[in-house]
């Protein structure tokens, strides 16, 4: 009887272990599954190179003459409606927010739509590209075609030889993340350039030069405390210290990417110091003694003998820092705001990829599809960094043995 009881409790305890492990694994699985399911539909090259804000065009045709074009056969493609009169084809599609749009599916090389005159400032020639979206087309003495009516009606009306095109309103798709990718790259470079030398030199001080007394101990514990500070607090540091500082000493007039990079540098500094110090510590003391015995001074020994051996650790630290920069959101929202930009300038604010997600998730309605696509990109980079760091650590431990 007693034995049975024991066995039952053992089964319960053991299954609780397995259940917990399964839940932990499931958590990662769920995240990847969800992000990939929602995000892959938008994953294409244009997304990475395109602008976020759609550009609108108003134009008129140079000649309104109809002629016949040698068009490919669209009868097999669903929701595609050819306009034989002008050599284009339109497609019924849905945009990122889920609204129906009339998208350009095909433009014949000789089509008059390749040589339109812009009705905005100047007489710039504009052309219609595949993927662009028609808002409306107005005609002389005929009611305007609206995209709301659907692509089929739109195409039929445009094909009507009775109608003379007066004005065309169209836009490119928008929703690209080119600006945020560039911002993220800028932030990574600036942060690494500031934080890595700073962190490595500080680590050298602590490991090679610092006397072991209470001052060093206090300094160490102050730096260690930084790791427990939440990133949103660093955001407050950024707006009170780094933004005014950069406004004062650079052409920037408001929050800017340099202030963002400085804030991120403080965030990753403790990691870089700790990782570098760990790798300095495993350099055998014999090497230092040998170098000193050969007549080199401490500076030469440190920079020519010890530091090169710690390089895998420094590279690991750099990658960890890059990972943190890519993932950071709260601090950057404070320092840089959440306005998505297409042209990036280091003296102006713009969003990194993570803040781009925040910006879209706080929009009404939230753009989950594009957010998930960016999340896929972020996760892919983080994955690569993880593998690199693992290899770095492996190299480091091998050196240490």
């Amino acid at each position: 009887m007693v034995k049975r009881k024991v066995r039952l409790s053992e089964i319960l305890l053991n299954s609780s272990v397995f259940l917990s492990t399964a839940l932990s694994a499931l958590a990662l699985g769920l995240i990847f599954f969800y992000v990939i399911r929602e995000g892959t539909t938008l994953l294409n090259w244009e997304l990475f190179t395109g602008n976020y804000h759609a550009r609108n065009y108003i134009a008129e045709l140079q000649d309104n003459q109809s002629q016949s074009y040698n068009m490919p056969d669209f009868s097999t493609s669903e929701n595609v409606y050819p306009v034989d009169r002008f050599g284009i084809a339109l497609e019924e599609d849905v945009d990122l927010a889920g609204n129906g749009v009339v998208r350009v599916y095909y433009v014949h090389p000789d089509s008059p739509f390749n040589q339109m005159i812009s009705k905005e400032v100047g007489t710039e020639v504009v052309d219609l590209d595949v993927g662009m979206i028609f808002q409306r087309i107005s005609y002389v003495d005929h009611p305007t075609s609206l995209s709301r009516g659907g692509a089929q009606k739109f195409a039929t009306e445009l094909n009507d030889p009775q109608r003379e095109v007066y004005e065309l309103f169209f836009s490119d798709l928008g929703g690209g993340i080119q600006g945020s990718i560039i911002t993220t790259i800028y932030l990574i470079f600036m942060t690494i350039i500031i934080a890595v030398p700073f962190g490595v030199l500080t680590a050298i001080y602590f490991n090679e030069f610092a006397p072991s007394n209470w001052i060093t101990k206090t300094m160490r514990s102050f730096i260690e405390t930084l790791t427990g500070v939440p990133s949103i607090i660093y955001g407050l540091l950024g707006i009170t210290v780094f933004v005014p500082l950069t406004v004062r000493f650079t052409p920037a007039v408001n929050s800017n990417l340099i202030a963002g990079a400085l804030t991120l540098s403080v965030i990753i500094l403790p990691t870089i110091i700790r990782t570098t110090e760990e790798s300095l510590r495993v350099v055998p003391d014999d090497h230092r003694a040998a170098s000193l015995a050969l007549g080199a001074n401490k500076t030469q020994t440190t920079f020519k003998v010890v530091l090169p051996q710690a390089s895998p650790g420094i590279i690991t630290a750099t990658f960890l820092g890059i990972g943190r920069v890519i993932g950071e959101s709260a601090a950057l929202i404070f320092v840089l705001g959440a306005a998505i930009k297409d042209t990036v300038n280091i003296y102006e604010p713009s969003t990194s990829l993570a803040v781009h997600i925040w910006s879209m998730m706080t929009d009404e309605p939230a753009n989950i599809a594009l957010s998930s696509t960016i999340a896929i990109l972020i996760l892919a980079i983080v994955l690569v960094i993880n593998v690199t760091v693992k290899i770095g650590v492996k190299l480091l431990t091998r050196k240490g043995m």
Partner: protein, 310 residues
């Protein structure tokens, strides 16, 4: 010869002091953070906030409604419910993630065969490296609809699923890898002779794991929990996306919308000056104080608990 010697050691002294300056700057950041935030955060309490009157410290700490100053022409900022919400959510998060995290660590360290343990360890590392905004995104997309439907089926109304429980779930996902990683290290450090003695005395492997190994590793396990609490208290973007950002409280019901210190900090970012701007620094002070106090309290408990079994 002697001349070179001295110049070489002079270089050492110069380089040494240059490096010390850098190290001093690095270690002064925490002081700069504390000083600047405190100075800015005190402003709403000691100035008259361009005619609105100063914020009462006691009311700030105890009131249960958060009114935005310039909008409501008042200084009735009550952060009392926000403090309670923040601690309540951190508590629930640990309640949920601690057992899961520790038992996963036990599995990796003691139960699983080597290849499976390695895979699980990689899974935990990956989970730890996912940025918080992605957790927020998954929380909004995956959890909120489910929670909304469950709440409706149970007759509760929840703001589109934004709720205490959604926040706790998201924070738990983020805490599990922290707890597991720290717990696994301390479980593996447990002296094997202890476990062997237990097995020799006739205890089963399961009994040994739960009664000897976990108990011997409890100090390290507790450290992991403290780290996880710190992370839950300070997490901002993911929480702001799923909490519902309530303006009053406290919210104890699992399906009620809520607000934490960090999520309130992220509200109303459009202001660039005035009381609505400065009050965020007051919340910053509050956040630091809450994190510091919680940490001290938990470390105190850890020392007490750790001493019982030596």
């Amino acid at each position: 010869m002697k001349g070179t010697r001295t110049s070489l050691s002079q270089i050492d002294t110069i380089i040494g002091s240059l490096l010390m300056i850098l190290a001093l700057v690095a270690s002064s950041f925490i002081v700069i953070i504390a000083a600047f935030i405190t100075i800015r955060g005190i402003l709403p309490f000691i100035t008259d906030n361009s005619g609105l009157g100063s914020v009462n410290v006691l009311q700030f700490l105890t009131n249960t409604v958060w009114l935005r100053g310039t909008t409501f022409l008042s200084t009735a900022y009550g952060a009392g419910f926000i403090i309670i919400n923040t601690l309540y959510i951190a508590f629930l998060t640990v309640l949920l993630s601690f057992p899961i995290g520790v038992l996963t660590a036990l599995f990796i360290a003691k139960v699983a065969p080597r290849p499976i343990a390695a895979t699980m360890r990689t899974i935990i590392e990956l989970l730890a490296s996912i940025p918080s905004i992605v957790f927020g995104l998954v929380g909004v997309g995956l959890f909120l609809p489910v929670i909304y439907n469950i709440a409706r089926a149970m007759g509760y109304s929840s703001g589109g699923g934004s709720s205490v429980i959604a926040t706790v779930f998201v924070l738990s996902l983020m805490s599990i890898p922290t707890i597991t990683a720290v717990a696994e290290v301390s479980i593996r450090q447990v002296d094997e002779s202890l476990e062997q003695a237990s097995l020799a005395l006739g205890a089963s492997p399961t009994q040994t794991r739960f009664k000897i190994t976990l108990l011997a590793a409890k100090s390290g396990i507790f450290s992991g929990a403290i780290l996880a609490v710190g992370r839950s208290l300070g997490e901002a973007t993911a929480v702001a996306l799923v909490s519902g950002n309530a303006r009053s409280g406290p919210s104890f019901g699992l399906f009620e919308t809520t607000a934490t210190i960090t999520s309130t900090l992220l509200q109303g970012l459009k202001e660039t000056n005035g009381i609505d701007y400065d009050i965020r620094f007051s919340l910053g002070i509050l956040l630091m104080v809450v994190i510091l106090t919680t940490n001290l309290a938990l470390n105190f408990i850890k020392r007490k608990v750790g001493n019982v079994h030596g």
